[in-house]
Amino acid sequence: MTAPVRRDILQDPEEFRSEVRQWLQDNCPESQRQPITAEEQFWGGRRGEFPSEDARLWFQRVRDKGWIAPEWPAQYGGGGLSAEQGKIIKDEMKRINARTPVYSIGIWMLGPAILEYGNEEQKQQHIRAIINAETRWAQGYSEPGAGSDLASLQCKAEDQGDHFLVNGSKIWTTNADKCDWIFCLVRTNPDVKKQEGISFLLIDMDSPGVSTTPIALISGESEFCQTFFDNVKVPKENLVGELNKGWSVAKALLVHERKLMAEIGSDSPRKIVAPNEAAHKYLEFENGKIVDAQLRSDLVDYNMQMHAIALTHFRTFEEKARGVHSAAALVMKYLGTEAEKTKSELLLAIMGSQGVGWEGDSFTAEELDTTRLWAMSKAMTIAGGSSEIQLNVIAKSVLELPQS
């Protein structure tokens, strides 16, 4: 494997774009340009298997090119590229409908936090393993008694000299039953203000005392789990950042999660039908217009909102590239997830009684998926900081309103 060449960040963007376009043309297998199903997603990890030979080839080529994480430093396997170049790669992949080579909490969330807060050993151990999809990560934040009030978490890590002893449980650990490692917020000091006694710990899920149980959801799925820690020994070197300073690491990481939640609709594993398409299929038209005035109005409201959200996404990219600060990025999680919920409700309404089927042959796969996704969409404005928490954040950090 040749080391990726670090691009001069001053390279002409259009020149870079045409290089990217050419490379993708030459290297992305035709089968990897088709819409992806949940079964075809590659998540990596010790137990991860490529769904096909083409998927393996595609992943390896992107990895060797350094584009699994284009903006990460080249010394750990990243591309060493600028944000603008990263955006160009993303855009170009999207343009040809290239599949995401690896789905990874490590890339989307943990990696940036380790790069910012981790020490050299941690970067060496984990960043390359994430890029190479050797490790699959779970997130251990929420607890049964600590949801929106995350800082009140109780899962404790006691200093035992050469290791921490971890006891407690974490909830909403996504696909934890398939993960190798989990990054956790743990209580390391119970006697100070709640945010000040929290540390950020990496735990190998093969450690004795770790167990995971799936949770059945209203959508009928059970991708979320509860993970239990019973006298789990964790080496001291797995602490990221300083002891009792985990809250800052978590906050930095939450920004990535919220960005991810805001974007998730554009890369959904289950192919949800577009509302405009559904309208033509399920609604009565007269002279080119939807007859049902309420649904027509709801549909145009949704389309306009999505149009405005998409433009705001572009604006945040442009602002980032130009070093301009605005509140746009901070409102995107709230707007994006609320719009996803609206979309699901709209689809149900457009499909009528066909949109509320649960199982069986009376409904198409698309209809059943719509119902399930509608149920799942309810979690979007709860997970990763509920809409109400998002509004609190905007009120505090953008508007600087007085806190009670």
Partner: protein, 379 residues
């Protein structure tokens, strides 16, 4: 496409804010209103604006313009929205200038555009005939009579109609309403025989008029563009007007919002600042989110006028609909969050509320633009 202002545009923004703050603050509108000023704006202010180049921002250099583009215009209009400054900027420098630029003959452009650019000529678009924006519902007739045309009909909600030097009249020269074909634009002197202008006093204290055309004779040279084919000019002119008024509404919404947030940090009840109440915080945060969306939409639409005009119809309707909703939401919340003082004339908030309602009616309310957007989407 630009979703971030460049340095020149930021500089213009700073100049505009400083100038308007000193020369045309909200208090100036109050004075025009209270003195029942016959003109409805200060001519000296308009002259100064023209000297700053604002009347010629979108015009090419060959007609005495700055050729600074619609993003530059948007920056200035947004600032005039913050101060509610009354001037012929919208009716003359945006709508009139665009109609002549897109539809006028070379001779019309050469004689009229430099005069608009210099602030010496003002115009008004006589379009509406009913109480809702229906740009193809035109019944005002233009009948050919030899080398002349005879215009008969009645127009309403003509912005700057009683103060403008020249009227750009949308007439039906063939066919029947609501066909978009068969429309013709005419340039008519406001004081031409047969033209009767009745100033209407609007809630926002800005200029508008009802205008009657009774057998008004105009020469064939008064036609702007091609006979019967005005729609190909009028539609893009209206879209430019829509994004321009949207820019003004962005400014008024921002100003009303910022004043309200400041009030939340200063007003005490129950022994605490009311801004600490979550019921108010969440509503303020939701407005911030909507403001961010509108900001992106506005920048994209302003850019589209110059860069991608083929996208303008859809974007202009998106922008006007979104800004209509924003302006309504923010001004309503501004009054409510100010409480009792919010409904007094002494506080400026009421002026923002009223301007918002009039601006919403200009070139299409929310329903009009949602319908147009949906139609352009194919449903």
């Amino acid at each position: 496409m630009a979703l971030v202002l460049n340095e020149e545009q930021q500089l213009l923004q700073g100049t505009a804010r400083e100038f308007l703050g000193a020369n045309a603050p909200v208090a100036a509108l109050r004075e025009l209103r209270d003195s029942r000023d016959p003109l409805g704006y200060a001519p000296t202010l308009w002259q100064q604006m023209a000297e700053l180049g604002w009347a010629s921002i979108i015009l090419p250099e060959q007609y005495g313009g700055l050729d600074f583009g619609f993003l530059g215009l948007g920056v200035v209009l947004e600032e005039t929205g913050r101060t509610l400054s009354a001037s012929p900027l919208f009716a003359s420098a945006v709508v009139g200038a665009s109609a002549l630029l897109l539809g006028g003959s070379e001779e019309q452009k050469e004689t009229l555009l430099p005069a608009i650019a210099a602030g010496e000529l003002t115009t008004a678009l006589a379009l509406e005939e009913t109480h809702h924006h229906r740009p193809t519902q035109i019944a005002t007739r233009a009948e050919r009579d030899g080398d002349e045309f005879i215009i008969t009909g009645r127009k309403t909600f003509v912005l700057d109609g009683h103060s403008a030097d020249k009227l750009i009249v949308v007439t039906r020269s063939s066919g029947e309403p609501p066909a978009s074909s068969g429309l013709t634009l005419f340039l008519v002197d406001r004081d031409a025989p047969g033209v009767t202008v009745e100033r209407t006093i609007m809630a926002d204290s800005r200029n508008a008029a009802n205008i009657n055309f009774d057998q008004v004779r105009v020469a064939a040279s008064a036609v702007i563009g091609t006979l019967d084919e005005a729609w190909s000019v009028l539609e893009p002119v209206l879209d430019r007007g829509r994004v321009a008024i949207a820019a003004e509404m962005m400014g008024l919404a921002l100003e009303a919002f910022e004043r309200t947030v400041a009030y939340l940090k200063q007003r005490e009840q129950f022994g605490v600042l009311i801004g600490s109440f979550q019921a108010l915080q969440h509503r303020a945060a939701q407005m911030q989110a909507e403001l961010e969306l509108c900001r992106s939409v506005l920048l994209q639409t302003l850019s589209a006028v110059d860069d991608t005009p083929e996208q303008l119809p859809m974007l202009a309707s998106l922008a006007k609909a979104k800004l209509n909703e924003l302006a309504k939401l923010v001004t309503n919340e501004a009054v409510q969050m100010h409480g009792g003082i919010g409904v007094t004339d002494e506080l400026d908030i009421g002026l923002f509320l009223k301007r918002a309602r009039v601006a919403i009616q200009v070139f299409g309310d929310t329903g009009f633009h949602k319908d147009r957007y949906a139609t352009l989407c194919g449903y």
